[in-house]
Structure formats: structure tokens, C-alpha cells
């Protein structure tokens, strides 16, 4: 089978003419300040801004918000033998995009989500007990062998999280296999389960072939399904995660967008990172990547049809339902704290 031309990243037969757009966006992360707050990504929105954003976004209809979003996103210009989409990096991670995701995902799950068997299962799980989950969720079932845990501690011995946090996978496995509803609920409300690194060091060490980190991943899912994650600081962060990874997946079909690693939140990445950040597209393009461009290599813009396919899959896979649950739990807590959802997003992203 023939690949299309890798060096010249434009698609074959792609002949629409590009709008002649100014290149200023290609190194535009300087002038974010001049944008309206719903296009700003920086932390700690002042209260006023938070309300301004809400006011503005709530007044937009679905059609308006999505119309504007896609109009902006599809704007493209010809650049270095390909097509470059300058607005993607303006839109990503903004309150505007988050709002659009909320509404769009709502529409998708209404449109395609009728009698979705996966979602039905998770809805049932929400009603059932935690013990039921442990006995039925596919990951949980495979994570704890019939013979159970013999509490030898081989998992904790190597666990990177156990070294740095007050965290002990063995004890979690113990709690789980006791199948005491109250204790499990207690566990789900604590920071504990969120300390796991998901590195899997525990799996090959278990003499009974159990899988502690799988079990913890399952518990985290459960915690979110039941809405217990908001009780703990680390659990709450899932709201930020849902928009970081979830947003990237939903809009760009990547869990990490190459402009995500903002300098101000990644000072630890050293001086070169700051230098490279300003003109990332230029440098990326130079080594042959296709930043925000049609193409097939690193950090490319994913084709809308591809995006449509995977969105359907995530809808069918119950991701939208999970995201909705996280969203609702967050909204509820935001109201209790009397802050807007955008302020809440920045709160959970920065606390801890």
C-alpha cells in the first residue's frame, strides 16, 4: 500500500486554497494578555474575570460557540510545503474550548448515546455497591486472583509512591479483599489511591500473580463513578485531568498537545525549554515534524474524519459518560464553594 508523501506534508488531491493569514500566530504566545479572558490560559483568574467569562460564554448558543470554534480551527495557511492551522494553539485549553467541549459532548451523547450498553453498565455500577464493582469490573476481576493476597509486601517494597507518600499498595489490596463496603468507601474518599504512579513495578513481583496497580486503576474509576473523588485534594485534580487529557483527545486526538507544556508551569524544564517554547513550530518543523499541520508525523493536526471516528469510539466506550460525571461532581462542588467552574478548574489544577 502506498503512503502519501511524507516529506511534503500536504494531502494528495488537497487543493483548497489557503486563506492568506498573517504568520503572527506562529509565535504568538506572547500576546495572550491582549485576548479576552475566555481565550486566556493563565492561572488564578480573578473573581471578576471568572464571572465575566461565565457571563460571556453562557450567553452564547450552542451553534454560536461551536460555529465560532470550528470556523477558527479550520482557518489554515500555506507554510513550508504544507497547510498550517494557526488558531489551534489559540483555542487549546481555554475556558472557551472547555465550554464548547461540555456542550458538544452533551450533544454527542444525546445523538449517539441511545442505549449504549457500556454506559448502561456504568450507570448500573453507579447504583450498585462498591463490592459489586470489585466483583464485576473487568480490571478488578483480573487484578485479584482467586487465592487472594497473602500480604507478603513484595509490591510495597519497590513501589515508588510508597517511598515518598504515606501509601501502601499491600494494605489497599488487603482492604479490597476484605470486601467491607464502608472501608472501601472510606478508601475511595482519601488521597491514598491517587498517589499510585501506575508504573506497574508491583505486577511482576506478586507471587500470586495479582495486579495491584490494575486494582488501583479500577478503584479510581469507581471513585469517580460514585463521585467520591472530589472529597480529596488529589482526587479533585481529575477535573483538571479531564480537561487536559480529555480536551486534547476530544479536539486533537492526542493526550498531550505540544503547546501544553507551558513555561510558567514547567520552570523545572530548564532554560532551553523556555527558549524553544517561543518558536516551537519553527523548530519542530525544522526537524521534520508537522506542528498543527496536515500530515502524518509528530504533533500533526488530525484529520477531521479521523477525529470523528475516534470520538464515536470514545462515546461508545463510555468516556463521555465518565467525563459528564466528573463534570457534574465538579460543578456541584464549585457551587458549594461559590466559584465559577473556570475558577474551580484553576483551583484544582494549582492546589496540592
Amino acid at each position: 500500500m502506498k503512503n502519501f508523501d511524507l516529506k511534503n506534508q500536504a494531502f494528495p488531491g488537497q487543493n483548497e486554497t489557503a486563506v492568506n493569514y498573517s504568520s503572527k500566530f506562529r509565535n504568538n504566545n506572547k500576546d495572550t494578555k491582549n485576548r479576552p479572558p475566555w481565550f486566556q490560559r493563565d492561572f488564578n483568574l480573578s473573581k471578576r474575570d471568572g464571572e465575566k467569562i461565565r457571563e460571556h460564554l453562557d450567553n452564547l448558543t450552542n451553534d454560536e460557540i461551536m460555529g465560532l470554534y470550528y470556523e477558527m480551527r479550520e482557518v489554515k495557511e500555506k507554510w513550508d510545503k504544507g497547510y498550517y492551522y494557526p488558531n489551534i494553539q489559540i483555542l487549546f485549553g481555554t475556558p472557551f474550548e472547555r465550554e464548547k467541549d461540555r456542550r458538544e459532548q452533551q450533544i454527542w451523547s444525546e445523538k449517539y448515546g441511545q442505549e449504549n450498553e457500556i454506559v448502561e453498565w456504568y450507570k448500573e455500577a453507579k447504583e450498585r455497591s462498591c463490592v459489586w464493582w470489585l466483583e464485576n469490573h473487568i480490571i478488578a476481576r483480573h487484578a485479584l486472583s482467586a487465592s487472594g493476597c497473602m500480604s507478603c509486601g513484595a509490591c510495597t517494597a519497590l513501589c515508588p509512591a510508597a517511598e515518598f507518600f504515606d501509601y501502601n499498595p499491600r494494605i489497599i489490596m488487603e482492604t479490597v479483599q476484605e470486601k467491607n463496603e464502608d472501608e472501601i468507601i472510606q478508601l475511595l474518599k482519601l488521597d491514598t489511591i491517587w498517589y499510585c504512579f501506575q508504573c506497574g513495578s508491583c505486577k511482576p513481583k506478586c507471587p500470586r500473580g495479582n495486579n495491584p496497580f490494575g486494582m488501583i486503576s479500577s478503584l479510581r474509576q469507581l471513585s469517580q463513578i460514585k463521585g467520591y473523588h472530589v472529597y480529596s485534594v488529589r482526587g479533585r485534580q481529575q477535573y483538571a485531568a479531564r480537561h487536559l487529557w480529555g480536551g486534547n483527545l476530544w479536539n486533537r486526538a492526542f493526550t498531550l498537545y505540544f503547546r501544553d507544556i507551558a513555561v510558567e508551569t514547567h520552570r523545572d524544564f530548564g532554560p532551553r525549554h523556555e527558549i524553544s517554547f517561543n518558536h516551537k513550530e519553527e523548530y519542530f518543523r525544522r526537524v521534520g515534524a508537522s506542528p498543527d499541520m496536515d500530515g502524518s508525523l509528530s504533533s500533526r493536526k488530525v484529520h477531521p474524519k479521523t477525529l470523528y471516528e475516534v470520538r464515536r469510539l470514545w462515546e461508545a466506550g463510555g468516556a463521555l459518560y465518565l467525563w459528564k460525571l466528573i463534570e457534574d461532581a465538579a460543578k456541584k462542588q464549585a457551587d458549594e464553594l461559590d466559584i465559577t467552574i473556570d475558577e474551580y478548574h484553576d483551583k484544582v489544577k494549582t492546589e496540592g
Binding site: 492561572f43 515518598f164 504515606d166 514547567h266 523545572d268 530548564g270 532554560p271 523556555e274
Partner: protein, 423 residues
């Protein structure tokens, strides 16, 4: 080794690229795993040599019965103290003397009664405390420090005047035994009943009872010193020897053979450490036994009926350490109108008030006091009166009850006071 450079010397260091989050520098987490290495081995050997009780600990099979019985585990202190873990740490030389670990134990003796290998946990604990006090190797609670100093200098923990020790008996004009008469009994009051206002009431009640029962008695007054129980259990052997010497001399001087102590602590320490090796010229007993005798043998006219529901809190040093469990109850039964209800934990299974093992000299936060657990249990029995037979228990319980609305409706009394009401 990584070359630790002076950042000024480095060009890039002029800009601060250190990772700040929300303006505050992020510190590296440190590795919390315990290191078993040379040092812990050395500490272990050191302990082996220093503590004569140490090798008992090696028998421990970590079954955890001690932790199950330890009253400290009933408190919500997120498991800061567990005898089993304590021994485990001790054995691996991982014990942290700089922490509070050593001072949680109240010497209630619950653990030693259940231990399948008869590990004398209390003695081990006392020995280790001795290390801290004599070698200065670790943390000694300040309140404890001052109390010990006071006992050494004033023979009582509150820096009271030693000469005022006998004052409590002055105002109630009770004839004491003639100075040359040695046939009666000697009432050893102890520090709390001698000085504390509330405590004096106990002593006075006891004196009146003896008087009414026609028992001739005498007190040592200024010739009495602190019995040294708390001092001993705090591990301060020297001070203990000092007060012990003082007391024994006054006993010899006064020549009264029968000694009764108001506080079970005095009784226990005298029985086990004063006259352990000697001729039986002196016999020490707890006042409760004397009271039991005069009440059951009807040498007291008990005519008033007290219509009250009472519950009895066993002092550890009667119940667990000396197996005096039935006597106080029999006394209560002799009081007309009294209904005795038992608490969830009673007799040999009783919970400590927190005052033992020199715990009385520590100030614990509310919610970390064993007395509160005890009071809760008392409340559940719906009793009007919580009776005890130990001045320390009394003070601990009252201190915790004071200013707590929950415990207002329950009255706390020493058994002597209750009996006196009946007379």
C-alpha cells in the same frame, strides 16, 4: 560524586530556572523507607547491653494481643502508639527516642496480662525511659522534667512545702495515735490527697471513717515523702531511691507495723520495691482492704440509704497489678440503696484512666485522654456516680469531665466519700 557547584559561578544560574510552583519552591520528597543498616544494628546491640530486660523482648512473636488490649489504641491518635510495633522497632533498633513513643504507655499492665510469652513490657518501657533520663538520650516531656525535679527537692511533684504535708488532718479534730503507741495502723496519704484541695477530701473522708470505726491510726505528716511510684515509672531511679530511703527511715522511726496507703500506686510500689528483700517487720496494704474489713465486719454503722446508681472504675494498680477486684464491689454492696452497674470494661479488663506510669504529669490534648474513653463508658451505664478507689484516677477523670457538658450529669467520687455519705 555530582559536583556541587556554586550557582553564582555558573552563567545559567543568573536566571532562576528552579522550579517554583505558585511562587513557592518545590522541595524534593525524601525517601520514607526505613533503613536497616549498620547503625540500627549498633543501636540494637547497645540497647541489649544497656537494658537488662531487653532480651525478653526477643521472645516476641508479634501476635498483636498487646496492641489489641492497649487502651491507647482506643483513642483516635491515628495509631501513634502500638506496643507490638514498639517492640518490633525496638528489636530492629529503629526506635525513635526523640519522639513521644516512650511516653504514651501508662503502665496499666493490660499487655503483660495477655502476652502469651510473658514479656514484661512495662519493665522494658521503664528501662528505656531510664535510658532517656540518665543518658539524656532523647525526648523528656517538660512537664515531666519539672515534676521529677520537684519530687527530688520538695518530696512532692508540685513544689509544695514539705512541712505542710500533714495539714489536711488539722481542721477535723480527730485524735491521732499517741506518738509512742505502735499498735494502731499507719495511714500513708500520698501526695495528691495531702496537698490537692480535691484530694484532701478523700484523705479526710478516710480519716473520718477510721475514726468512726474506732480504728486508731496515725499519719507521718511532714515525715512522709512521695512514694515514688510515678518517679520510678518515669525511669528516674535515683530520685526514687532517695524518697524510698526517706520513707523507710520514717517508717522505722515510727515503728508502726501495719501500713495502709490511700493510693494503690503507693501500695504497689511499696509492696514490690520497698520491702522486697527484707524481714517482715512492716506489712503494706491498700486502704481499700482495711475499708473492706471494717465495712463487711459491720464495725461501721451504715444507716443512711443512698438511692443512687453507681459504677465502679477499677484502678489498674488494684485490679490488674494486684488482683483486688471483688473487695471494692463488696463494699459497695454493703451500702443500702446503691445499685452497682458494670461498665463495658471492668475488673481485670478495665481501661486505664491515663494517670498511671507517670502519665498524670503529662498534659494531653482533649480527645487524646484515656479518661474521656472511660467517662464515655460510664455514661453508657446511665450511672449517677462514677466511683473509684484511686486518687490519681479521680483527678484524671475529673480533669477530663470538667468543662465538658456531656459529663456534667455524672458525679465522680472516691469510694471513701461514698461510704462516708452512708454513715
Amino acid at each position: 560524586m555530582a559536583n556541587k557547584e556554586n550557582k553564582k559561578g555558573d552563567t545559567t544560574a543568573d536566571l532562576d530556572y528552579g522550579w517554583r510552583f505558585q511562587g513557592r519552591p518545590v522541595l524534593l520528597h525524601d525517601d520514607s523507607s526505613t533503613i536497616v543498616d549498620e547503625s540500627s544494628h549498633l543501636m540494637q546491640t547497645a540497647l541489649t547491653q544497656m537494658s537488662k530486660e531487653y532480651f525478653y523482648v526477643e521472645r516476641c512473636i508479634q501476635c498483636g494481643m498487646c496492641t489489641e488490649t492497649c487502651p491507647n489504641t482506643m483513642l483516635n491518635m491515628n495509631g501513634r502508639f502500638s506496643p507490638r510495633e514498639f517492640i518490633q522497632k525496638l528489636r530492629l533498633g529503629l526506635l525513635d527516642f526523640s519522639g513521644e513513643d516512650l511516653w504514651f504507655c501508662t503502665n496499666c499492665g493490660g499487655c503483660t496480662t495477655v502476652c502469651p510469652y510473658e514479656i514484661p513490657f512495662i519493665d522494658v518501657m521503664i528501662d528505656l525511659r531510664n535510658l532517656v533520663i540518665e543518658q539524656g538520650a532523647g525526648y523528656l516531656p517538660p512537664s515531666m522534667k519539672s515534676a521529677l525535679a520537684s519530687v527530688a527537692n520538695y518530696q512532692n511533684p508540685w513544689m509544695e512545702d514539705p512541712d505542710k504535708r500533714g495539714d489536711w488532718i488539722k481542721k477535723l479534730n480527730i485524735p491521732l495515735l499517741a506518738k509512742n503507741n505502735t499498735n494502731g495502723v499507719l495511714l500513708f496519704a500520698g501526695c495528691f490527697p495531702s496537698y490537692d484541695e480535691r484530694g484532701k477530701k478523700i484523705a479526710q473522708a478516710a480519716a473520718q471513717l477510721l475514726n468512726k470505726a474506732g480504728v486508731e491510726f496515725d499519719i507521718l505528716a511532714e515525715n512522709e515523702a512521695c512514694c515514688g511510684d510515678a518517679v520510678l515509672r518515669a525511669g528516674d531511679y535515683n530520685t526514687f531511691e532517695q524518697v524510698k530511703k526517706f520513707n523507710i527511715e520514717s517508717f522505722k522511726e515510727r515503728e508502726i507495723k501495719k501500713i495502709y496507703t490511700l493510693s494503690p500506686h503507693c501500695f504497689d510500689v511499696m509492696k514490690k520495691h520497698y520491702f522486697e528483700n527484707n524481714d517482715d517487720t512492716f506489712s503494706v496494704a491498700s486502704f481499700i482492704l482495711l475499708l473492706h474489713e471494717i465495712v463487711t465486719k459491720h464495725r461501721l454503722k451504715i444507716n443512711k440509704t443512698i438511692n443512687k446508681i453507681v459504677t465502679f472504675h477499677d484502678p489498674c494498680f488494684l485490679s490488674k497489678h494486684n488482683n483486688i477486684i471483688e473487695e471494692p464491689r463488696e463494699i459497695l454492696k454493703c451500702l443500702p440503696g446503691i445499685e452497682l452497674r458494670e461498665m463495658e470494661h471492668s475488673g481485670a479488663k478495665s481501661i486505664c484512666c491515663g494517670g498511671g506510669g507517670s502519665g498524670i504529669w503529662l498534659d494531653r490534648k482533649k480527645g487524646e485522654r484515656l479518661a474521656e474513653v472511660r467517662l464515655e463508658e460510664a455514661l453508657q451505664t446511665k450511672a449517677d456516680v462514677l466511683v473509684t478507689a484511686c486518687p490519681l484516677c479521680l483527678s484524671m477523670l475529673e480533669d477530663s469531665a470538667r468543662g465538658d457538658s456531656r459529663f456534667e450529669r455524672i458525679e465522680i467520687m472516691d469510694i471513701c466519700e461514698l461510704v462516708l455519705k452512708g454513715v
